[in-house]
Point group: C2
Chain length 285, copies 2
């Protein structure tokens, strides 16, 4: 018998859920809500849950082949170095690439800027049966754009409502949405930036411009606070994941995905053909 | 010390390379060219090489952030059940999703049919720094289309040249191309189709239409033979990978990818900033 998988005492779907009454500043970025184990147990759990995640993903995919319109969209937002890349690599990376549509949104191109801010987002949505992962998203349009003043305040204000409507329509058409903010402390970011400079194989990840963003820490936190206040809805909830401990953030996001998929009540599609007749055909072939 | 990784005696890049003089019918689909170990050693090797593959992929990606145009395109073609999905899951799946662009080509849509056959292919090419994986490809346009008579013989004939030119231009612009045919026997396919019917969680993968294609086995083999004859070039080579043994096919394709990336002479980009000055800025921040 393999050792028991450490369990969450409270599911991240409950422990990390935030609503319009969020107080971001009061959330401890080093905490491990719902989990009493340490790094060793956390890593064990991350590995152990991959089988469950894989089976759920395959069912989601299989159902789409028989007409299901269901899909899952995971939105990842965070300050630099908070660990979006690690989530993609270690959580999403354990899922069959055939069932994942990952997209990293960069600074909008000139072509993208000519359209409304949701235009480029809509092009990257997961199709039926897929798990979509957005590394950054339409939330940049109310985060960096607010902090940097790239758009006027009334425009930003209008976007919250457009985002709510957009996400509601996605949910309506079968896409489950999980919005994740990886929450780190400025001290942890400092340590991680310094580490990138210590290792030559990490230099490529370092961008001097990241330090300029870092100077605006408080403004970004305020923009996140506001964005979450305005766009927390029952159908497209936000989860704030403490991320100073990478192992916790990874297992928590994995569990959020598993919980969402389990809640979809997926099952293996029934054969739409006569199994015995097909077995006979194969035997003759 | 960890146990030594079993080695290929002859690299798959040499052992599996075919040219215009290919004789597909003479290639044993149960063989394990270049490797004397068995399933156990093969699986050990597959796991052990993931670290090398990951580092190479990350270098490819990192270089693209500093202006490199290099990318890799892996084309997977095969008869049904030959194991394309397993390659994607177990070989490609070990690579960071951020560095992989996987695309499965299906029957062309009405919109795609209104364009030339390479139009939809060009839209899915990997960008700089990416490993592109085509699950089926433009080769369907000279395989099923030939066998099923969806295009006239002179049109098919013209396509070989168009494919050669297209691939040459890709290579010219920095995309390394590996073309893989997973080669199984009709007996092995029969066993795999039967297995899909035995397990209820595999029924969704079974399509009665696959048996119709199976009836055309010899015609498909002839179409592959011809396609490989006409499109084997030094810059975009074909590799025929014996695939009756899944463990061999996976480790062989993994090694083909590793060999291609190693041949690109990738390295970690040098810092384009003053490391000490940035360290001082971080300390002050």
């Amino acid at each position: 018998m393999s050792p028991a998988i450490p369990a969450f005492e409270t599911s991240p779907s409950q422990a990390l859920l935030v609503g319009p009454d969020i107080d971001l500043a009061s959330i401890d970025s080093r905490a491990t809500p719902g989990f009493t184990g340490g790094k060793k147990e956390g890593r064990l759990k991350l590995d152990a849950e991959n089988a469950e995640l894989s089976e759920l993903q395959e069912k989601l995919f299989a159902e789409s082949r028989f007409g299901s319109e269901l899909s899952l969209l995971v939105v990842l937002q965070a300050m630099d170095t908070a660990g979006k890349g690690g989530i993609v690599r270690h959580v999403v990376g354990a899922v069959d690439p055939q069932g994942v549509k990952h997209y990293a949104f960069k600074t909008p191109t000139a072509a993208e800027k000519r359209h409304d801010f949701l235009w480029r987002i809509k092009k990257q949505l997961p199709g039926p049966g897929m798990i979509g992962v957005f590394d950054r998203s339409h939330y940049e349009d109310v985060l960096i754009q607010r902090v940097r003043g790239f758009a006027e305040p009334p425009v930003i204000e209008e976007r919250y409502g457009l985002i709510r409507d957009f996400e509601a329509s996605l949910v309506e058409s079968g896409t489950r949405i999980i919005k994740v903010m990886l929450h780190i402390s400025p001290e942890e970011q400092k340590a991680r930036l310094a580490e990138r400079l210590e290792r030559k194989d990490k230099h490529w990840k370092y961008n001097p411009g990241d330090l300029d963003e870092r100077q605006l820490w408080d403004e970004y936190q305020a923009a996140y606070q506001l964005a979450i206040e305005r766009t927390s809805t029952a159908e497209a909830p936000w989860f704030v994941v403490p991320a100073d401990r990478k192992w916790y953030a990874r297992m928590a996001v994995q569990q959020l995905i598993i919980d969402a998929l389990q809640d979809m009540q997926l099952s293996w599609p029934k054969a739409h053909f006569d199994v015995e007749a097909e077995q006979a055909r194969i035997a003759r072939s």
